[in-house]
Structure formats: C-alpha cells, structure tokens
Amino acid sequence: MTALTQRVSQRVPARFLPVLATVVLFVLTFGVGSASYDGFASGQIIANLFIDNAFLIVLATGMTFVILSGGIDLSVGSVVALSTMVTAAGLRAGWPVPLVVVAVLVIGSTLGLLMGLVIHKFDIQPFIVTLAGMFLARGLCFLISVESVSIKDSTFRDIATAVIELPGGVTITYNVVIALVVVLVALYVLHRTRFGRSVYAVGGNEQSALLMGLKTSRAKVGVYVISGFCSALAGLLFSLYMLSGYGLHAVGMELEAIAAVVIGGTLLAGGVGYVLGSLVGVLVLGTIQTLISFQGTLSSWWTKIVIGALLLVFIAVQRGLARGPRRRQTLTS
C-alpha cells in the first residue's frame, strides 16, 4: 500500500492527490453499487446522477470559487430557495420566461455583490456576512409567499420535461447541459484568466497577492458575485426540477455544496483545489444517495451519516497532505 502511494506520488504532483482520491472514491462507491445491485451499472443511472444533481453541480462550482479565495458562502441554499420563489411568482404573474430568468440571475448576482462588498470594505468574516445573507434571502422568500407556489407555465414545463437522447438510449435533460457548460466556463475562468489566477493567489496568501500588485479586491468581491450568480442559476435548475417555488426548498443545501467541494479536494483554507474535483464530489454524494435508495430498507438519513463520515476523513487526509510537503522541506533545508 505504501509502495503504491509512493509510486503514485512520484508521478502525480502532491496537489492532484486529493482530487485523485475523490475519483478513486467515486469509482469505488460506483463499483460497490454495480457489484451489489443489478441494473446499477447502466448508462442511465450515471445520467440520472447528473440529472438529479445538476443544480448541486452549479452550486458547488460557485462555492469552489469562494472557497478557493479563502472565503465561504453560507447563503447559497437560501438564494436557491429565493430563486425558485421568484421564478414561480413571476411565472404566476404572467411574466415571460426570459424575463424571469434575467430577474432571477440579477437578484442572485446582486445579493452576492452586496455580500462581497460588505466582506471586503468592512473586512468582516465571510462566515458572518453570508450567514446574514442566508437569513435575509430565506426571509425574502416568505415575503413573496408562505405557501408553496407550483409552476404551471407551459413553456417552463416544456423545458423541464424536454429530454435529449444520447447514443445508447440514455436520456438527459437540459439541466445537465447547463450544469456542464457552467463547469466548463468555470474551468476556463479559473485557469486561463487573470481573475481566476488572482482567486488562487488571494486564497494562497492575500497579503502577498496585494504586494504583488494583483487586484485582490476584484477577486475577493468577484467570487461572491459568481457564487450568487451560480446560486440563482442553480435555483432556476431547481425550479425546473421541482416545478414549484417554496421558501423551504433547499434547506441546508449550502452545506451539501460545501461538502461536495471539500470532498472534491479543495482546501478549506483556500488556494488549492479544482472545479473538476467539486464535480466529482457532487457525483460521489449522488452515488451514495443512489446506493441507499437501491438498498431500499435504509432511511435516507443514512446519506447524511455517510457524508459526515466522508467529510471527516477527507479533511483529515487534507491536513496530512498539507503537512507532508512542509515537513519534507524543513528536512532538506
């Protein structure tokens, strides 16, 4: 086992190890499912992983930006709920679908911008500011309606139920396409743009990034705008998925998003991590959920227990990895 890890660490830089571990974990959980249950290892099951978790993929992508910059965004679940509410109420009032989409995205991005500005200008812990944002967004939902509002707009329903047929008889929804496009755009922004690299730099060492002459304020505020935008978009996807708006939608979803990002190998301290890791992190969570529903007798709460245990293991592993290189350095210097 140690020989194996040694061989792996020689070929793969240490920073890829957490992501690699997540991929291995995904393959393992999926393998367990395939071995235990007939029909688990089918293309449609994999497609369903994406269909059922499209909104979470988008959410985790936005969260990856925030966590990479060394922050945290607790408001995303509430913003999802608010977005479903605005969507449902807007459609009920007879707004055309494009207007609803624009309104939702503007509201989400604006909320993110406000939180980012407060965090940066007043130098307040992101934890506190986004906690406030979380309550605010949740409260706004009930300002619109305390009841669940179902979506009856025919255009919206058509989009929700439309399927795309892939070779092999596998079908996916437009949600999946949107989520994957978001991941691709995020990949480009994080790795190919100056803004993206500034996000990494700020997460690595904010003071240094500032002294290096980078626009740290833009990166620090920008990640919350992106996270707000992603939350709003995830809210739209969630509306398509649930076909209703409700103030109690997506309760605790921010924690699922954070869990997916962390399981995906992103350091909570910031500066290290990959969007693809977060995508695989979401898939791991989805697979566990699928496994438990296939098992049939276990309560769905077992998902949470397994996720909790996984999180603990991953954070411990990250800690070990973070210490590893430094110890080596002091030995050689």
Partner: protein, 509 residues
C-alpha cells in the same frame, strides 16, 4: 563612474507620522542608476517606513517623491511596480500555492485569445530565471523549493518587468553564506545593467562588500549620505547609534570587576527531560551572569524552559535557596522569583495590541491576582522608571507595542519581567535581530542587574556576546551539558568545545 548621472529616485523632505510615533521627519534620499545603495540605521530608525513610502504602501504626510525627475504619488505597490519600482521584502511575499512561473508573471501574464498562454508564460519565466542564473522548473509549485530559492524567485519577479529600481529589504536574513554570494552575484549583474538597487541589511560585512553608497537614518531623521568607500565601520556605527562606542568596552570591565561569589540561588541536580535535554547539574549564584553557549538545537532553550517550569522535568530536582522546588508550571516559577524572557518575543512574550504601559504591568498584575488591580499611580511611576532606564523609544506609554521596532519591543519585554523584581532572570536570545545600539543597552542592563544581586542566565547564539558578558559559561552540545568554563575563557575555547574537540577528555575526567 566619476560623475554620476541624475538620480532615478529623489525623495525630498519626507515626513510621516503614525499614531504616537513620528516615523520619518524631513528625510531626503537619492538613488542613482547602476549603483547599490545601502539604507542604514538601527531598528526603528525608519528604514522600512521610508521604503514603504517609496513603494506606495504609505503615503507621506509631506514631502515629494520624484522618479526620473517627475513627481509621483503611488497609492499602491502595484502602481509603483508599473512605474518600475519593484520590491523584495524580508519575508518572501509570494503565493506558495502557485507555480514558479505564475509567481514571476502573475498580473502581467502573456495572453492568447483572451486567456493566459501558459506555454509562453513558462518560456518567459525560464528566460527571466536564466537571466539571473537560476535553473529550476518554472512549472513546479513554489512551495516545493527551499526559502532561499523562493527569495530568488521573488527577485526574478521583481526584474521581470522593466525594472529601474529594485528594493531589497533585508533579503539576506534567512540565507546562508553560499546563498548570499549567489544573491550578490545577481545584484552585480543587475547593477551593471543599470538598475538602481536599494539594499537593507543588518550585516555590516555585506554592506561593505556590495554597496557603493549609503544613507544613514536615525530616529526617523536623515544623518547623512556617504560613499561606502569613504566611510569606515567605526564612523558608520557611531552615525547609526548616535554616540561613541565606549559602551561595549565598559561592559567588559564590569564583568571583570564583579564579585560572583554570592550564595547559590538556584541549584539543579540531575535535572533533565527525555528528548529535550540530558540530565545536568547547574548552580547559579546571586549576582552572577551565567552564559549558555551552544549551537541552535543544542538544548539551550530546553534547559531554560525546564528551569522555568514551562516544560516538566522527568528526572532530577531543582533547589531554590536550598529548598526543593516543585515546579508545576511557570506560575510557581514566577512565585519563586524566576523570570523567563522568551526568544519568540512576538509569539510568546508581548501582547502586540496593548500599549507599552499595559504590557509592562501584565506580569505584575498576574502575580497580584485579578482581584487586586495595580493602582494607576504605581503603574505610571513604574512605566516612567523603565521607559527611562531602558531608553525605550518612543517614550510614550500609550504607544501600541506593535508599532515599536524589534529592539524596543525586546526592551519592553525585559522591562515587564524586571517589574516583578525577579531573583533569577532567564534571557533567551534577548539580542537577536536587534541592532548594535539596543544590544549594547541590553548588555549594559544585564551587567547592572547582576551588580544589584540578580542572577542572570544569558542565552545567545552570538558567542562573542556570551563570552563578554558572562561570569561563567555553560557549553551545550547535542542536548548535553558538556562543559562549564569561567568568564575568562576565550571564544576559541568555547568554539572548540562546541565543535567537539577535546570533549572526550573533559567528559572522561
């Protein structure tokens, strides 16, 4: 280089005040292209502040900065960089989680189709690294390189732009001799290319080796600008500390005259702790300065921590005034009159966000317990006494400790323990990282304390200092006490012991 070209940087009448501190007062400074200019001064003289004013971190209250004859006012380091002023700070200010290439070029990456062109970036980085003769993989993560290499990467970043002025703020403090030589080679290359280099270092040898010209600051004011070749060391030191160098000689005399035959105050018998320091015997008499010499990691600090009860001994016993003392922790040591001045003054000693006054009375308050606050009058008189006795600057009891220079912080820490009137004062590296003037003052203070009957255990990596100040020298090597020498011992003798010569006979006898 007979007639200098016009200066590339000219600062005129720069003044800057922080709350409670006048950091700079009417300072003029010029920097010529193609020369290495050393900025000299004690800790707290205003070197760092002047540099930060030049690089846009601070904005001066008055005065003007001219770059190539044009008045400029930078509001951020980024702007200064764009104008061609690059800075490498004492601590490596890079992002260790990114690659070497990114650290060199971040903020000015080559781009293609709107995105960063990594291939071009690596090529450009390799080119810059080659210019200063550093051969590492630009795609490797910065974290994977030792500090010295990271420092060179920081310099590569500084010169990757069209750099007219390179500021090096104590770049050599964490480098070994070979690495310093490498740095100097690079500095000469850049100087010959016409870059103006502003260099700060506490090591006089380095200053005389590399610099062409120097500006001396003292207490935030300009003392003078000289060509290095025309300034001898003695004159430079007097200019920096502002008084004649008689102080150091006086200390030597005092230690000769001192009568170190007082009663044994602290007696350790087979005291030791596994993994930290092997069991040792030690007597410390009242009015005696015992020096502790040894290399880093030889067990100096560990010995001190055992005597102070900061770590628990697992063998032997400790007697104070002939009665066994069971040290349960620093509290019982303080109660027995033992004080410990830690080497890590920021981490373990001072509370940086409190004022000088509050820091001073902290230990005293701890000794009294929380229910009996120290009266304001007592506080004020104490503070006044120690501010004067230790020459703490600024002499403002309300100044926050964090705004003080290293040497002055050390003095505050010392004063804090002196307030409790200890019988044994343990000083762990009290003079590290502080300048000559403050060093002399602290040594003088130790000598005075001993003369008043306080026992002092003095730990320092600088053997010269230990030999000069101590009545007796305990030598440690590899976590063992290997010898005890009297105060007349020479440095060579101590070095020999530490290096391991003659040790076999000594331990055998």
């Amino acid at each position: 280089m007979t007639e200098s070209p016009p200066p590339v940087v000219e600062m005129r009448g720069i003044s800057l005040a922080f709350p409670g501190v006048k950091a700079l007062q009417d300072v003029d400074f010029r920097l010529f292209p193609g020369e290495v200019h050393a900025l000299m001064g004690e800790n707290g003289a205003g070197k760092s502040t002047l540099i930060k004013t030049l690089t846009g971190v601070h904005t001066p209250d008055s005065g003007s900065v001219l770059l190539a004859g044009d008045a400029v006012a930078f509001s951020s380091p980024g702007e200064a960089q764009q104008a061609g002023i690059s800075t490498v700070y004492q601590e490596v200010n890079l992002c260790a989680n990114l690659t070497v290439a990114e650290n060199i070029l971040l903020g000015r990456e080559p781009r293609k189709f709107g995105g960063i062109d990594f291939r071009a970036m690596r090529a450009k980085a390799a080119e810059v690294l080659a210019r200063i003769g550093v051969h590492i993989d630009p795609a490797s993560v910065l974290e994977s390189h030792p500090i010295a290499v990271q420092q060179l990467v920081a310099i590569a970043r500084a010169i990757a732009v069209d750099c007219r002025v390179l500021v090096l703020d104590e770049p050599t403090s964490s480098l070994d001799a070979g690495e310093v030589a490498e740095l100097f080679r690079i500095m000469r290359v850049l100087r010959d290319e016409g870059v103006a280099i502003l260099f700060v270092s506490h090591f006089l040898d380095q200053i005389y080796e590399i610099s062409d010209r120097m500006t001396v600051l003292r207490n935030g004011a300009l003392v003078g600008e000289h060509l290095t070749a025309e300034m001898d060391r003695r004159a430079l030191i007097s200019a920096m500390i502002g008084r004649e160098l008689g102080t150091l000689e006086a200390i030597e005399d005092a230690s000769e005259r001192r009568d170190a035959s007082g009663p044994v105050l602290v007696h350790a018998e087979g005291l030791g702790r596994r993994g930290a320091i092997a069991p040792f015997d030690l007597d410390i008499r009242a009015g005696e300065v015992v020096g502790l010499a040894g290399l880093l990691g030889s067990g100096r600090t560990e010995m001190a921590r055992l005597l102070f009860g900061a770590d628990k001994a697992d063998s032997g016993r400790l007697l104070v005034d002939g009665t066994p003392l069971h040290l349960r922790g620093p509290r019982s040591a303080i109660a027995a009159g033992i004080a410990f001045c830690s080497e890590d003054r920021k981490g373990e000693g001072l509370v940086a966000d409190l004022s000088i006054r509050d820091n001073l009375v902290l230990a005293m308050q701890a000794a009294r317990g929380w229910s009996r606050p120290v009266p304001r009058k007592v506080k004020d008189s104490l503070v006044e006494k120690y501010l004067a006795a230790l020459d703490i600057r600024p002499a403002n009891p309300d100044a926050l400790v964090r705004t003080l220079s290293g040497g002055n912080q050390q003095k505050v820490l010392l004063a804090r323990w002196l307030v409790t009137e200890p019988r044994l004062l343990i000083l762990d590296e009290p003079t590290r990282g502080i300048d000559i003037g403050a060093k002399a003052q602290i040594q003088q203070l130790v000598t005075n304390l001993a003369a008043e009957g306080t026992a002092v255990l003095f730990i320092s990596a600088e053997l010269e200092e230990v030999v000069r100040i101590a009545d007796r020298i305990v030598v440690l090597r590899d976590r063992h006490k290997i010898a005890e020498l009297d105060g007349g011992a020479s440095i060579d003798e101590v070095v020999g012991l530490i290096a391991g010569e003659q040790v076999a006979e000594r331990t055998a006898s």
